[in-house]
């Protein structure tokens, strides 16, 4: 009986981790890929001083946000959703939704940044070649995105890797409530503090396995993509 609860709880924790980080990355990709693609296109910049200024500022901001400390994100989300905060009336604090929002704020800059540089690295040559072959600007842009697909995929994997291993942010906004908002990383923290090293190490092994599976999939896709 005790055994079964142990594994049940582990399953619950693992699934919640996957759900929170997976949802955050999915929504993050829907927001980040279009923005990253847009910023990666150089045709918009350099011509006018204002465009150049916006370009420099947005790049610097994105790079800063890519390295944003999760704890700080957690704190800000907490202050927004706490009962006396501006969004407190939503009652989202200490829910998986709050955790998803926290991770979303973390992963969007990562997806934008990596997509932007992937698109930027092929944009000039591929766009020009496509135009020279008779493509419209829209057709050329689509081809650029297609050629940058490996980089876009990398951005998603990098974002998921960061999200699944993140602890500080979701600890604050999720509250690490058993059977409700406890994820692999927050559980490891609490189990270690309680001296339950078996549980902590099991969770750690699962976390590592998920990371490995994701990277394995990425490598296979990359090898296929390069050598097809």
């Amino acid at each position: 009986m005790v055994e079964s609860t142990f594994w049940e709880e582990i399953l619950n924790i693992t699934l919640l981790s996957l759900k929170v980080s997976g949802t955050a990355v999915l929504i993050g990709a829907l927001i980040g890929i279009p923005i990253g693609t847009f910023l990666g296109f150089r045709q918009f910049k350099g011509k006018r001083a204002l465009m150049h200024f916006i370009d420099v500022m947005s790049r610097s901001l994105i790079n800063t946000f890519m390295g944003l400390p999760p704890v700080l994100v957690g704190l800000i989300v907490y202050l927004l959703f706490t009962s006396s905060g501006p969004l407190g009336w939503l009652g989202l604090l200490y829910t998986p939704t709050a955790m998803i929002i926290t991770q979303l704020i973390m992963v969007v800059p990562i997806i934008i940044g990596v997509t932007m540089s992937a698109v930027g690295s092929v944009e000039k040559t591929v766009r020009e070649r496509a135009l020279a072959l008779g493509a419209t600007e829209a057709q050329a842009a689509w081809l650029v995105l297609r050629e940058a697909r490996m980089g876009v995929l990398t951005s998603i994997i990098a974002a998921f890797g960061a999200a699944i291993s993140e602890v500080g942010g979701i600890m604050i906004t999720g509250g690490n409530i058993r059977w409700w908002t406890r994820t692999l990383t927050t559980a490891i923290v609490v189990e270690t503090e309680l001296g339950n090293f078996t549980m902590a190490l099991t969770l750690g092994a699962i976390l590592l396995s998920i990371s490995f599976a994701i990277n394995l999939a990425l490598t296979i896709v990359q090898v296929k993509g390069a050598g097809r």
Partner: protein, 359 residues
């Protein structure tokens, strides 16, 4: 009837004049070859003709119609580009199969699958790459990749084909395949071709007319013989030799000639000539040193070794002078060892004015 008329074209990049008052006409069905050193403005000129860049001033007429370069005319630009095929100097292929690469220009034009299948097959036959359909384009050799990009440019049967040094850095076999493709396309489909090259032999073999472009200006236009004032055969033997340069020659007050072979790079020769010349300096006449020499040699340049070829008891070295001009120098292996030369060594090369032969 002219297909292209270029009138008083100027192009400026952040204050630097790349094209200066360029005017010429290309007739329908012609192979027109632009010859000139790197940085002469050849690529920029082709990019303007393909509407990838707009001129600072001047006009281009395509089949008698004025080309609108303004950003308002983007629809017209696409329509016009679809009548022109372009091959870049640096091959850009997409990360997909050879078939999909060649099919791309037809797909963006909304052609049916049936037509695409048929035309891609024909284009691949033309560039002698039948059977390569399912290979990934990024896995091809340099010569094969360049031929795929020629197939891309030709698959939609353009009226005008632009090629920017299509055979630079390719092995002789691929060069001759490409020359044959261009000859066939021109004679069978009557496609007009404008191409740039460094290779004099290629210009002489393919071109109906040539233009010499140097420092952003067109210096001469005409048949090979008209431009160089010589039967082509006399140039032929030297075309693939090392140290062949062309430029404008003028006579100095001392009775020698100064030839501008590149911007800022001048060779002094013992002959007296005015006009465009092709000159040759035998590699064995060039003296190489690690320090500047005080000598009677009228020509001395500082350069860097960019290539070393061991030919047995002699060593052939390629020395870059300035950004682009490469001289081939031949020295004995013994001197090579004693001077302790390596790649990227700074060296001085010197040769007498009388070693500069006109071809």
């Amino acid at each position: 009837m002219p297909i292209i008329e270029v009138q008083n074209l100027f192009k400026e990049y952040s204050g630097r004049q790349v094209l200066k008052d360029v005017s010429f006409t290309v007739n329908n069905g012609e192979i027109f070859v632009l010859i000139g050193p790197n940085g002469a403005g050849k690529s920029t000129l082709l990019r303007i003709l393909d509407l990838l860049e707009e001129p600072t001033s001047g006009r281009v007429l395509f089949n008698g119609q004025l080309v609108d370069y303004s950003s308002r005319a983007s629809k017209n630009k696409v329509a016009l580009r679809r009548r022109i095929g372009m091959v870049f100097q640096r091959t850009v292929l997409f990360n997909m199969s050879v078939f999909d690469n060649v099919a791309y220009p037809l797909k963006v034009r909304g052609e049916s699958e049936h037509i695409i299948g048929q035309k891609v097959k024909e284009a691949l036959e033309l560039v002698r790459l039948s059977g390569f359909e399912h290979k990934n384009a990024l896995a091809l050799s340099g010569g094969e990749a360049q031929r795929v990009s020629i197939a891309q440019a030709l698959v939609a049967e353009p009226e005008l084909l632009l090629l920017d040094e299509p055979t630079a850095n390719l092995d002789p076999r691929n060069v001759s395949i490409i020359e044959e493709i261009l000859f066939r396309v021109n004679s069978e489909r009557k496609t007009t071709i404008i191409m740039t090259t460094h290779n004099m032999l290629q210009a002489e073999n393919l071109a109906h007319r040539i233009a010499i472009i140097n420092g952003g200006r067109i210096e001469a236009v005409g048949t090979f013989q008209e431009v160089f004032g010589k039967p082509a055969e006399s140039v032929r033997n030297f075309a693939r030799l090392d140290n062949v340069f062309y430029g404008f020659s003028r006579i100095t007050t001392e009775g020698t000639s100064i030839i501008d072979i590149d911007e800022g790079l001048q060779i002094e020769a013992a002959f007296r000539k005015i006009g465009n010349v092709v000159v040759h300096i035998p590699p064995e006449d060039i003296i190489m040193s690690t320090q500047p020499l005080l000598s009677s040699a009228r020509n001395m340049f500082e350069g860097r070794i960019v290539q070393i070829s061991d030919m047995g008891h002699i060593v052939k070295l390629k020395v870059n002078v300035g950004a682009v001009k490469a001289f081939t120098v031949q020295i004995t292996k013994k001197s090579f060892r004693e001077m302790q030369l390596t790649l990227d060594s700074k060296v001085f090369i010197a040769f007498k004015a009388s070693s500069v032969q006109t071809i």
